[in-house]
Amino acid sequence: MQKKIIKSSIILFIIFIIGVFFTGLNKSSIYDTKNLVGQKITNIKLERFNNNRIITEEDLKKNDFTLINFWASWCAPCRVEHPILLKLNKEKNLKLLGVNFKDKKNNALKFLRDLGNPYDDLARDELGKYSINFGIYGIPESILINKDLVIIKKFIGPISQNDYTYIKNTVRE
């Protein structure tokens, strides 16, 4: 009887270990933020680029959809996505909020002068502290939110042509 218990315990233990390894190794260890989709963004506090007025939740609730784009003049991939942002600016139901991230004001202005300004509203996060509230860990990153400030999708890296189509279809629905 005891032998049977020990035997079945060992077998169960081996099955358990195999199970743990199987699930563990099949799981992607690359960090992504897809779990944040569906969450509501709260405590929005962003300093406007040109004056000290603060952009709050109330400002974003006025828009049907808002694409919050974190960018900097020193960020090379931001240049890649810039023409797509300019195209997105033409969408009626979408407002673009640019957050200039850890950048010098003059460089940021030169960047927009050279490449065009796609943003309906522009904010500044000099130390990057406010961006933590949006779950940002690098730039460029963009967050598409709806009127209720719920995250519809998070785009890590420059916005691609596929992302553009997705955003366009979502805001036109």
Partner: protein
């Protein structure tokens, strides 16, 4: 004069003690935070842009009087559980938490049964 010197040293001591306390708390929190853009480094060990920003935010939150748990909760809400090295007990990871205790109990039972068997012989 002597009294003034004593008071000066008491105040100096108090300041050093509170500064040490602040550093200790900050480091403790930062060591339990994973740097999401680094390879196997905590926020405390990393100098990446991300880690530097998180350090500033945690410092601010400690100054605001937030507890360690509140700081973790804030960051977990923003980045998911992956950001903390020691995730809180929940329905997804309860096996991980309970497994060592389970092994301990089962091991105890097995040893007890083996010893009992040996005594009977």
């Amino acid at each position: 004069m002597r009294l003034k010197t004593i008071i000066f040293f008491i105040i100096l001591n108090l300041n050093i003690a509170s500064a040490e306390n602040f550093t200790l708390d900050l480091n403790k929190v930062l060591k339990n935070l994973r740097c999401l853009v680094c390879q196997g480094q905590s926020v405390a060990d990393s100098n990446s842009e991300f880690a530097q920003t998180i350090k500033l935010v945690v410092k601010d939150q400690i100054k605001e009087g937030k507890s360690e748990k509140e700081i973790y909760n804030f960051l977990v809400e923003k980045y998911g559980e992956w950001i903390v090295y020691k995730p809180p007990l929940n329905k997804v990871n309860f096996v991980l938490w309970l497994f060592p205790y389970l092994v301990f109990v089962i091991g105890g039972v097995v040893i007890f049964l083996l010893l009992k068997k040996r005594n009977n012989h």
